[in-house]
């Protein structure tokens, strides 16, 4: 599985938090490779190191030791500024708690990554942001602020923000953790569509039926990979959503 074209390739990745005198080994010598176009679910008990792993993969945090190659680039050796650019251009990150800017319209929130884009020619930021919001089905909520949106809508704004730079990799830490069943299914359907369009997706979840929407399942325990296997009966969230009676929750 560990070929040279891997989107993500980590070796011996370790993250230790020092809390005063004691050290918390959140991640211990983890090896993992993810190929382009994969959709991977990470499961594990609370405190098993899922978020720690996602933050490292998302370049929000730095490993204590080990190597991390993203698209073949040695991310673990980069400085703060290079990491900022990696986060900007190569990774879309979706948080459990949405992390939208308060008192800021959906459009402005989605536009945010484009403001920090330093690559080449000028783009029409508003047009791109609008397209991303349309992609997640929020064309009619462009000027709403987070406080005026439901949890599912807020998460979709956050997903639009993660998509607006058109990254090849989408990372989501418990994206459905704060959402009800139907909204969760909608988010998973969206992820499956994106995955079918070629995007590599890693998502953390507690729930088995959410994990079964992915093609591959990795289970963590005490900072180590316990299991790494393909999902046998992969769910089709798009189809299930179609069959669901409309207007149940939202």
């Amino acid at each position: 599985m560990a070929d040279s074209q891997a989107v993500i390739r980590i070796e011996e990745l370790t993250r230790t938090y020092s809390e005063g005198d004691t050290a918390v080994h959140a991640l211990r010598h983890v090896d993992l490779s993810v190929n382009p176009g994969e959709m991977l679910a990470i499961m594990g008990a609370s405190g098993s190191g899922k978020s720690t792993l996602m933050n490292l993969l998302g370049c929000l945090d730095r490993p204590s030791s080990g190597r991390y190659r993203l698209d073949g680039l040695r991310v673990d050796e980069m400085n703060r500024r290079e990491l900022a650019d990696i986060r900007n251009t190569r990774i879309g990150f979706v948080f459990q708690g949405f992390n939208l800017l308060a008192r800021t319209s959906a459009l402005d929130n989605v536009e945010l990554p484009l403001l920090y884009d330093r690559r080449g020619p000028k783009v029409d930021r508003v047009k791109l942001a609008r397209a991303a919001l349309e992609r997640v089905g929020l064309a009619d909520r462009l000027h709403h602020q987070p406080s005026e949106l439901s949890g599912g809508q807020q998460q979709r704004v956050a997903i639009a923000r993660a998509l607006v730079m058109q990254p090849a990799l989408l990372l989501a830490d418990e994206p459905t953790g704060n959402l009800d069943t139907r909204t969760s299914l909608e988010v998973m359907a969206l992820f499956q569509e994106l995955n079918q369009a070629g995007m590599t997706i890693l998502l953390v979840t507690h729930e088995h039926d959410i994990a079964e929407c992915a093609g591959r399942l990795v289970e963590l325990r005490d900072g180590k990979i316990l299991r790494d296997q393909p999902v046998e009966a992969r769910r089709d969230a798009v189809a299930e959503l179609r069959d669901l009676p409309a207007g149940a929750d939202e």
Binding site: N55, G58, L60, D61, R80, R81, A84, D85, R87, N88, T89, F93, F95, N99, L100, L101, R103, T104, D108, L112, P113, L115, Y116, D117, R118, R161, M165
Partner: protein
Amino acid sequence: MNTLVLIRIALRSIRKNKTRTLLTMLGIIIGVAAVIVMVALGQGAKEQIRSRIDSLGSNLVVITPGASKSGGVSQGAGSMNRLTLLDAETLTRESMWLSSVSPLIVAPAHAVGGSGNWRVGVSGVSAEYATIRNWEVSAGRLFDETEVRAMRKVCVLGKTVVDNLFAEQDPVGQQIILRDVPFEIIGVLEPKGQTAEGRDQDDTILAPYTTVKTRLAGRQFIPMILGATDNKADVPAALTEAKAILRETHGLASYDDDDFTVRDQNELAETAEGATEVMTLLLAAIAGVSLLVGGIGIMNIMLVSVTERTREIGIRMAVGARGGDVLMQFLIEAIVMSLFGGLIGVAAGYGGSALLEKFTGWDTVITPQLVAISLGFSAAVGIFFGFYPARKAAALDPIEALRYE
């Protein structure tokens, strides 16, 4: 990342939090307004002194008793250092450059006439005094040299004296009793306003110095001798010449210091302005301190704001903001707020100066330089006091910032 975008981000953030913005700007607004009002007052005072000294006359040479200290401030006229009528007469006779000379004897007197009485300083002067001072009569005439030599009991009244004694009548031709001596009023002087020191120049009576000296007994002294040249260019020569003549008249040896001071109008102005300069500086310094306090206020609120906005900073970094972008954002926010505060402060300064002028009658002058310096200073305050909080924000770790509750 272009600066324009950063400015837009900063403006957006400023607009989103109006209360915080206003609080932050308040210190700067007050500081800049204080600087403007204080300096405007100082400059107004200076301008006023200038115009009053100009009102003394033109091409003036002023001789006062006592040696001058360095810096042109005359020491208290000691009993040793006196100017005499002889000095004035010698200057009149011998000076080539001074076209007119007049002593100034001041005799305090109780004046009775018209509708009552009035305490006034009677100035004993020569016939040339009015010429030296560019002073004209609004009614009647001035006394001439013959009358001075003849010690005639004639006088010319200042406007204030007329207002107090002859409110509703024409004083010319009437009598006025000065220290029991009757004088004939032959003219009324044009109003001239206040001196640099704020003394009412119109509260005076002019009479021939010869008459004042002999008729008005009492404490007499010559506070000054005034002279004037025909041309401005002659003033330096006249100064040198007057010095030489007086040294000779006073019998000073070559190693003696002058026991008098000879100054032209410029030096007079500089002496008076020197005092207001110090005042202006002092006022500006006080106002500057309040601007500084305003700057510290900005820093305070920015620091609180960095803490408050830790999550926002985390979000920005998570989507690709570099440390430098966050630094610039906060710095621009600080600068925009202090500049904007500075602008409001300038407006408030204009308003405050106008009000002050209206209610106290003090002159205020606001120059474009003052406005430019104030704005420049408030921008500098923004950069200086915005930098520390901005750097603090930029140094945050994205994951730490995101975790912040």
